[in-house]
Each structure stands twice: as structure tokens, then as C-alpha cells.
Symmetry: none
Subunit: 228 residues, 2 copies
Amino acid sequence: MKPFVLIAEDESAVSELLLYNLQKEDYEVAIAADGEEALMMIDERAPDLILLDWMLPKVSGIEVCRRIRSGGANPNMPIIMLTARGEESDRIRGLDTGADDYVTKPFSTTELMARVRAVLRRIRPGLKEDKISVGDIVIDRVAHRVMRDDGEIHLGPTEFRLLDYFMQHPGRVFSREQLLDTVWGSDVYVEARTVDVHVGRLRKALRQDGGEDPIRTVRSAGYALRGD
Amino acid sequence: MKPFVLIAEDESAVSELLLYNLQKEDYEVAIAADGEEALMMIDERAPDLILLDWMLPKVSGIEVCRRIRSGGANPNMPIIMLTARGEESDRIRGLDTGADDYVTKPFSTTELMARVRAVLRRIRPGLKEDKISVGDIVIDRVAHRVMRDDGEIHLGPTEFRLLDYFMQHPGRVFSREQLLDTVWGSDVYVEARTVDVHVGRLRKALRQDGGEDPIRTVRSAGYALRGD
DNA sequence: GCCGAGTGTCACAGAACTGTCGCGGATCAC
DNA sequence: GTGATCCGCGACAGTTCTGTGACACTCGGC
């Protein structure tokens, strides 16, 4: 179950940026452009986390925050406030609006993502597990090890990240471009065919002890890990 | 069994900082943002230690402290009070609220961590063992000695701390940066490659009597002690 | 001052990993 | 069938990362 994040922000430049980054980290995301819409969506869709702009049209962010806290479906709903630098920043900290965290604009997206993870981990522990297993494959991200049928499998860094990503979404098909974006990073440029080679290497490593090939090729679409 | 620490603190800046540092020292941590939540979690999850803010929304820290001491599951639950400087600090010491220790904000995190360790050691002796063994390696932190197959191994101070840290988390991979942060200290600046050299020296020392290399290199990630 | 132990940095060689290419086989549309 | 794509895989050159010996520097003991 993906965590569902609601962005309440009227500047589309900001909300689009957040949307892009959150989706990349595999959250389900929705955008509300004003306070009224935000309150409606909070009520209807019960987000796991709200990124709430301080200033919003119709109903301000502060008011939204207050209303959440003072009743409604879930008064403990995690809230991260977004505020422009200097925008009553001193008073904000003093006010007991009840946000879980504050971020001042302009913000670093990586920092914000880290805070999102931190807040969600606190609320929904076990969100990012140390160990995942799919079928007979077990990946231990803390020890950085991969096991299959109690035999250890050695993978290079890229193959490890690739398998890790597949195992977070078993069964799902990813295009080469998607894989390059997430596993390699959106900033590096490499040929799409490179993915094929690494998938090949990953398959070879996983087949070592005579196991079945756990990766499915979807012609003209991409690759997927065979779900269980 | 990891010790479980509850942070009862409404300022997220403070609680996040504590969260980060406590997790780094391998405690299990939870945060309560007000007194009510704190009491609930104390009841439900029986923490080994509470870091309790003096001023808390809904139910104050003092009141939480009083309620713990005057009955409930464990009246001897260790409590470290966090108070703002000058905030009735004189009276606090006079009051018999029954906290085990007091720390005034702003506090040094290293000092607070030391106090946390101290309180837990007093309450749960043997929590941080004097001796740890992983595989055939035994480290005695009190005597500052390392044994392997009944032969003593001499290590320099840095190598000793390095091995000590590895042995607290066998199997886990640490990046060079993490190791510098914890083993060297976050305030000193040294090259990341320096870790390699010390790991090399540690390996050499541990290989003295012909034993296997107990340290695993994880390319582009860091080092780990081979778990048992 | 001298000494030895301990430390941080560097340079270099070798190991491990990466991205690309090209070929041949598999699969698809018609 | 047949031409056009698409994919698996071995090969390879280039790059990155790691292990280690060497060396200079610090620091406390004497």
C-alpha cells in the first residue's frame, strides 16, 4: 500500500515540482490548489501526510491545520507546513498550530523528501523494511546482501539497486526509461539498452544456483519481477 | 533487545534532532508530541527511558512525571527532564518530581547521549555489555582488550573503536561517512579514504594468528563485519 | 631533545564494475 | 513466409573503487 500524500499549494510551479519528486519516490499524490479543495480532499481521501502551504486562497493553511487538529476524521494527521522565508517565521514557531514539521521556501527537495520519509516512518513504522522477500529471494538492504535458497548471491552495486527496486514493486512492469530514472538517477545519461545488459547480469547472478529466472521480459514495454 | 526510548517533546526541531541521534546510537525511538499522547504510549509500549519536556501541551511534563511515579505500570521508569534554561530551573531541582536527571535546553547532544547511556546502564545493567563476541572475536571494552582464538590482539585506539562499533552491529554495512561520523566524531574533518587505511590495519591485526578476514568490503557502499 | 606509537594523506597497481557495440536468434505485423 | 523490431549475450575498452606500502607529522613519556 503506497502512502498517499496531499499537496495543498496554489503555486503550480511548486506543486508540480513536489508532485514529480514524490511520485518518483513512489508515493501516491494529489494536489489541492486552495484551502477549500484541500479540506474536501482531506475529508474524502484521508491522506497519510499533507504538505500544506501557509498561505492558501479561500481558506488559509493555518486555518486548514487548525480544523484538522480540532476534530474531523483524524486529528493526528501528519502535516508539514510550507512557508515563505521570513513570512511570519518567528510567530509560526511560537504558534501552536500543531504542524509536525516546518519547511521554509525555497527548500531543497532532497531535504523535504527526507522529512517526508521521517514523518511517515514515525507514523507508519515498517514502511521501508530492512528486509524484503519475494518468492525465494531475500534482499537485506542493511547488510547489503542477497540470498536465494539460503545461498548468498553476489551483486554489483547497480544490479543490487536494480533488484532492490524490482522487489519493492513485484509484478509491476518498468520501462527502460523508468528504470534509468530511478535506479541510475535522472541526471545521468546512458543508453536505454544498457538496462538490458544489467538485467542480463542480474539474471545470470540469480540463476547461479540453478534457480528459475525471476525476471519477466515484456516485449516493447520493459521488465518486471515475477510477483508471488 | 534494543532499549526503547520515548521522546515527549512538542517542538519538532528538538524531537527530530533527538530522534536522529538516538537512532544513530541504535535505540528504538518513538515521539509523543503532547502529554496525553505521552501517557498513552507509556502505558501501551512501556519505554525503557523517557526524555520528557517540562512544558508540554495538554498535559504538562511535570504532571506526566507525577502520574508515572504515583502508580501505573512501572513507577520506577527512568525519566530525563528537558527544561528551557531559566525556566523555573531553580525550583525544578527543588521539586521532588522524581526525574532521574535534568538537562537544560539548549543542550549538547553528546552530553545528553552520555546521560541517556548512564541512566540506562544504571537501570538495566548489562545493557551495553562489557564484553561482546562475534564469531571467534571477543572484545572487552573495560579491559580494552581484544581476543581471537584465545590469543590477544593488540589494536591502536582508533582500530579499537572501529572494531567496537562494528561489533555492536554485526552484518550491517556502514559507509565511510557514517564511520567517520561515529568512530571519529562528527566534528573532525578527515578524508573518507582514511577509513580504508584503518580498516586495512584492523584487518591486518585480526589476521595475525592466521584467522579469516572478518570484515566484508561492499563496493561503493562501505564495510561490514561478517555477521554470525 | 629523542623515541616510539599512532595517525592522516598520498600514489600506484590491481581488481571490480560499467557502458557500448555487434551479432544472432526470437517475436511480431502483414 | 518475410521483413522489421526487439532482445539476450559475449566481448571489450574505459572508468571507478579498493588495498597497501611509504612517508611525514603529532604527541606523550622520559
